[in-house]
């Protein structure tokens, strides 16, 4: 069964279309990642699904509830963590959790046990009495997640929950999400980190209000244009200029001091490219084949979408 179904979901802010005719489905129990540049419509989509923003047109059902008809019923079933999740800085970790338990009307007999479980789960037990304002960035995010989980929702909407969080805390946060996933919770998460997309079951690439591609990370990686050669050169600018003249050239992308060059057959192209660069006087530190990552595929897809 689907946890989320949208049909022609559309949202305009005056003349700007933030989300355009969006139809997609998320299965129950999936971890679905929405990724895309700023302003692609990720946050607007999440806000509509959380029932805090009405669509201009179209429909969305979350856990079978129509988001515009019964936002209150929706709120009881889902956990929503917006980008700037407001914790009470002067309240302790424990008091914040109690406060959210109050808002979500968690029965008082269940409260104590549930809070204890979440403190343990979010690795915050040792910090129960610390004011939320004095937690590190990573711990604040974990507390935010714990608060969003206080009413044991079946579905989580997380808007860039790991943005600006250090690598160690980020991995801990994802380990918690993996735990929830294994318990059957559906998770829709937005992230600016390409490597996090790899931790999702499915990923949707959002651009200009539309999901332009979606699928399992492995499948999306295959959308990169052909095979990839990595070139290290000290003359990046010159290399970029002459590359399009190379007969087997499809596309290139710059990553710091290296170029990722796409070609139909990397093994066959490699010696030919070496010779080509030599005749053009381009210095070459190294040239080798590598597997394209999600990032290469996404940059390729977004470039195409921009030209369209």
């Amino acid at each position: 069964m689907e946890a989320i179904v949208t049909q022609h979901l559309h949202r305009r802010f005056r003349k700007t279309v933030a989300v355009r005719d969006l139809s997609f489905r998320i299965e129950q129990g999936e971890v679905f990642g929405l990724i895309g540049p700023d302003g692609a419509g990720k946050t607007t989509t999440l806000r509509m699904l959380a029932g805090v923003l009405n669509p201009t047109s179209g429909r969305a059902a979350v856990l079978g509830v129509d988001v515009t008809k019964d936002p209150e019923a929706l709120r009881q079933k889902i956990g929503y963590m917006p980008q700037h999740f407001s914790l009470y800085g002067d309240l302790s970790v424990l008091e914040n959790l109690t406060f959210f338990a109050e808002i979500y009307r968690v029965p008082s007999r269940e409260r104590k046990e549930r809070i204890a479980r979440l403190l343990h789960f979010a690795q915050l037990r040792a910090f129960a009495d610390r004011p939320a304002g004095k937690l590190s960035g990573g711990m604040k995010k974990k507390l935010g997640l714990a608060c969003a989980l206080i009413h044991a929702p079946q579905l989580l909407l997380l808007d860039e929950p790991t943005n600006g969080v250090d690598p160690v805390s980020r991995r801990e946060f994802w380990d918690i999400l993996a735990e929830l996933h294994l318990q059957g919770v559906t998770i829709l998460i937005t992230t600016p980190y390409m490597d996090e997309a790899e931790r999702c079951n499915r990923v949707g690439l959002m651009f200009r209000g539309e999901i332009i591609q979606q699928g399992e990370p492995e499948a999306l990686r295959r959308l990169a244009p052909g095979e990839m050669l990595v070139l290290y050169t000290t003359d990046l600018a010159q290399a970029e200029q002459v590359l399009p003249d190379f007969p087997d050239y499809l596309e290139h992308q710059v990553y710091g001091d290296r170029l990722h060059i796409f070609t139909p057959d990397a093994q066959a192209a490699k010696p030919r490219l070496e010779a080509f660069l030599k005749t053009r006087g381009i210095p070459m530190q190294s040239l080798y084949q590598d597997e394209p990552r999600l990032e290469e595929a996404f940059i390729h897809l977004i470039r195409h979408a921009r030209l369209a």
């Binding site: 971890v31 990724i35 895309g36 540049p37 700023d38 302003g39 692609a40 590190s136 960035g137 990573g138 943005n163 600006g164 969080v165 250090d166 690598p167 160690v168 805390s169 980020r170 991995r171 994802w174 380990d175 993996a178 996933h181 294994l182 600016p192 980190y193 390409m194 490597d195 790899e198 931790r199 999702c200 079951n201 399992e216 990370p217 990046l236 600018a237 710059v254 990553y255 710091g256 001091d257 990032e295 996404f298 940059i299 977004i302």
Partner: protein
Amino acid sequence: MNAVVARALTKKFGDFTAVDHISFKVRPGEIFGFLGPNGSGKTTTIRMLLGLIRPTEGEAQVLGFDIAREPQAIASRIGYMSQKFSLYPDLTVDENLTFYGRAYGLRGRRLARRKEVVLEIIGLSQRRDRITANLAGGWQQRLALGAAILHQPELLFLDEPTAGVDPVSRRDFWRLLYELAARNTTIFVTTHYMDEAEQCHRLAFIHQGQIIAMGPPGQIKRERMQGDVVEILCDRPQIAIQALRQAGIPEVALYGRRIHAAGPGLEERLSALESLLRQAGAGPQTLRIIPPSLEDVFIANVKNSIQ
């Protein structure tokens, strides 16, 4: 001459040691990355090198000047862009650059010329009359970088310059950094992002105030991973994860439907792991050794330094 030389640089705040005897060199024209968790000492190190706070112990030279004795000489030769870059939102792009240019002592024709050059570099020539607040996040960040390079500094300190910027803009920003490095600007950058860390010429992992690994990213990945990463695809990941944790595998993480298990000597134990998972009832499975990511190496080094 090295752009930065630090010897046993240390900063204590009361009982807390924020930076603990770190030594490193940054070569001219290189992009040197500082990668570490929150509170690991990245910003404190930058603030010492900028001459804003004095080290408790140790010493450092920036562009040949001693940070404790000659902070003024350093200030005019370096550029600095902080986590929260401070642009004036109600001024235009051009006005912000004028403001920062004057702050650095640029006047008249020289200021006008430098503004043209910088606008060209950061790609904002067409948007010079736009109100800063109306620019997209990625453009604001480029403008902040422009403000930091107006006075042609030889060395640029960037403290998490791309936090909260989307992947496409981040790539454009790094492309810009490479152009600057190619023109011989040395860049010292702190970051949370692994993909950015991989783009540095050299990298230092910093944790609890200490440098726990340093070198070119490729070399760190080859030399500093104590152990192997195994990717496991199986029918019942939940059971598999439990079994792996019970068997004492240090790192077990779920990636979509795949499990990544990391630890020393896993390659030799591959068939043992296979039968362990079979006995636990994780169902049919495929296991293979995969190359560690920089993040895998980082996490493994952090955990080692804690023990």
